[in-house]
């Protein structure tokens, strides 16, 4: 079997060289490298980008650019994947809670989770608890991410977690919360399991939860 590129692709992604990634992916596909191999290498690059972000050497715009390059590559190779488009790492439901329309942070985390092979069900902004419950039931997702920028949204987060309990889902779903003013005090108030400081932490937490679930 033809193997991939000795890490050239991952390093091109790491350096955010969009054109190089594009060229390498086309070359590899033309050489007959399996799309799964290419995807795996792209994921390795994304993991390293996440690590650098967590370590303070990469910044938000670099995450956004990396997620864009990853998304473009996925578009190209997805139709060629034999085993579906991934989601091996597990299902995550994600939303900005009711009363809050801010989604910059949420969108970045969703992109990073997808880069880490999670199947993310992004419900958008201003999402009421009942829609979240419905989606959790429909997908069987074990992880719920809630985002908020406003202090008034803490109450929406709390209401969502309470609705989860009423629906009998609380023991099966790990809840992570994040956003500008969200800290440990807020986590305790809303009754979530963890609060995350940034996108990479959200990915790490989702991985931990998925591992426990398995």
């Amino acid at each position: 079997m033809i193997q991939a590129t000795n890490g050239n692709l991952a390093s091109a992604l790491l350096e955010l060289e969009e054109k190089d990634v594009e060229r390498l992916v086309s070359d590899e596909l033309a050489r007959g490298v399996p799309p799964e191999t290419i995807l795996e290498e792209m994921r390795q690059g994304m993991t390293e980008i996440g690590n650098r972000f967590a370590g303070g050497t990469y910044f938000l715009t670099e995450l956004i650019m990396a997620a864009e390059i990853f998304g473009q590559t996925m578009k190209k190779i997805e139709p060629r994947l034999t085993g579906g488009s991934g989601g091996e790492a597990g299902d995550v439901v994600f939303a900005t809670v009711k009363g809050d329309v801010h989604d910059i942070g949420k969108n970045i985390i969703v992109a990073m989770l997808r880069g880490a092979d999670f199947r993310v069900h992004d419900l958008g902004v201003d999402v009421p608890p009942e829609r979240i419950i419905e989606k959790l039931k429909e997908t069987g997702a074990g992880v719920l991410g809630l985002s908020a920028l406003l202090t008034t949204s803490f109450d929406s987060m709390k209401a969502t977690v309470e609705a989860l309990a009423r629906a009998g889902l609380r023991d099966h779903v790990k809840v992570m919360v994040g956003g500008g003013p969200v800290d440990e005090r807020v986590r305790a108030y809303v009754g979530a399991d963890v609060c995350g400081r940034d996108a990479q932490q959200a990915v790490n937490l989702a991985r931990q939860f998925a591992a426990v679930e398995v």
Binding site: G56, F59, T61, I64, M65, L150, T151, T152, V182
Partner: protein
């Protein structure tokens, strides 16, 4: 140790900015929606009636025993925001329920091609084109009268505060190009622009920076000429610059911020760097600014204790009681946090106590009272 006040508020503020000794730290919380909520007035009324908004803030000021200056000089309304934050806005009573705070709705209201137009023509010609995209509800022919009304409101507000002997701390904003473009393009598209078309971005920034500075200085001077004291500082907004890598920060953010700050200082204006988000990795840059001439106001995302370490001998720091603490904590929690701020950040002077960005609408009143009370009475650094 109980405080014995020996300075007037304005002396205290000026001393803190100049890194000189003070009798206690100046206390200047950023109060807005909270005042309406406490007085049982809907936010819809608050955002649509500048006189009412000012009166509500004044009532809370008096109820809570006062503080050293009122924070914002300019009544903010949906028109005023267009001059500084080019984004769609959801308004209470229109897109939102009547008692919810407004929220910016970031969309791509500026295209890639617009960079070229801006590089050619400047900011205000583009602003005129963009206006219907961000305020489709306001007919463009109303712009001159809306601007006039807002300007008169600012003067009227300042007069009203001055008539009570109260200074206005800040007003009129300059928003650096990196912030403006990031909002108007959307953070995602702007981030991609930095990689895909950096020269276009820079050309547009280079074109507009002097225009932005000139307009802001003109605004500040205009207020000063028509009021007794004017504003103690001029507002300088920053958030999104922190999303950039240091390499991009040094090309697209810092040179323009620095140019604006130096121009303000040159014009005899004290810049208030109202810098939300996490500036911790960028603190060292502020040492390039003249000592004791500017204020760094941070919102609790920047590590304020680190800021003191890096900048304490160089620049006044203002902040940063976190919104979540004011909403969820107890008065004891607030007092403990404020004491720590005064103990550490207040040591050696150069500190102004404030809320981290604005006081949340749903803060507990007893927490806000605790902030003000302990801020005005606790100062262990004399002698």
């Amino acid at each position: 140790m109980a405080v014995k006040e020996t300075m007037q508020s304005e002396e205290r503020i000026d001393a803190a900015i100049a890194l000189q000794p003070v009798d206690r730290v100046p206390v200047i919380p950023m109060m807005d929606f909270f005042c309406a909520r406490q007085k049982g007035v809907t936010l819809e009324k608050f955002v649509n009636d500048g006189d009412l908004a000012r009166d509500l803030i004044e009532q809370i000021f008096l109820d809570y025993g006062g503080w050293d200056a009122t924070m914002m000089g300019t009544g903010l309304n949906e028109f005023a925001w267009t001059l500084t934050l080019p984004m769609l806005l959801k308004i209470p009573g229109r897109e939102l329920p009547p008692d919810e705070q407004w929220q910016f709705d970031e969309r791509e209201v500026m295209t890639v091609e617009d960079y070229d137009f801006i590089a050619e023509n400047g900011w205000m010609p583009f602003w005129g084109q963009m206006f219907p995209r961000i305020r489709p509800n306001i007919p463009p022919q109303e712009i001159p009268e809306r601007f006039k009304a807002w300007d008169e409101q600012a003067v009227r507000d300042t007069h009203k505060w001055e008539s009570k002997g109260i200074h206005t701390f800040t007003g009129v904003a300059i928003v650096p190009p990196v912030e403006i473009f990031s909002m108007a393009r959307s953070i995602k598209e702007f981030s991609l622009d930095l990689y895909r078309r950096p020269d276009k971005v820079q050309a547009a920034m280079d074109k507009i920076i002097d225009e932005l500075i000139g307009a802001a200085i003109g605004g500040i001077t205009g207020i000063k000429q028509r009021t007794k004291w004017g504003y103690r500082t001029a507002f300088f907004a920053g958030t999104r610059a922190t999303f950039l890598s240091p390499k991009h920060f040094e090309r697209f953010a810092w040179p323009y911020i620095k140019k604006g700050v130096l121009a303000y200082i040159e014009a005899g204006i004290t810049p208030l760097l109202h810098f939300d988000s996490d500036w911790t990795p960028f603190l060292r840059y502020f040492r390039e600014l003249p000592r004791g001439k500017a204020v760094l106001e941070i919102d609790s995302k920047t590590d304020i204790f680190k800021a003191k370490e890096v900048l304490g001998d160089h620049m006044c720091i203002m902040g940063d009681v976190p919104a979540q603490l004011l909403k969820l904590g107890t008065p004891d929690d607030v007092r403990a946090y404020v004491k720590k701020l005064i103990d550490v950040v207040g040591k050696g002077g150069g500190f102004i106590l404030s809320t981290g960005c604005d006081c949340p609408v749903d803060a507990k009143p007893e927490n806000v009272k605790a902030l003000i009370e302990i801020g005005k009475t606790y100062y262990p650094h004399l002698n």
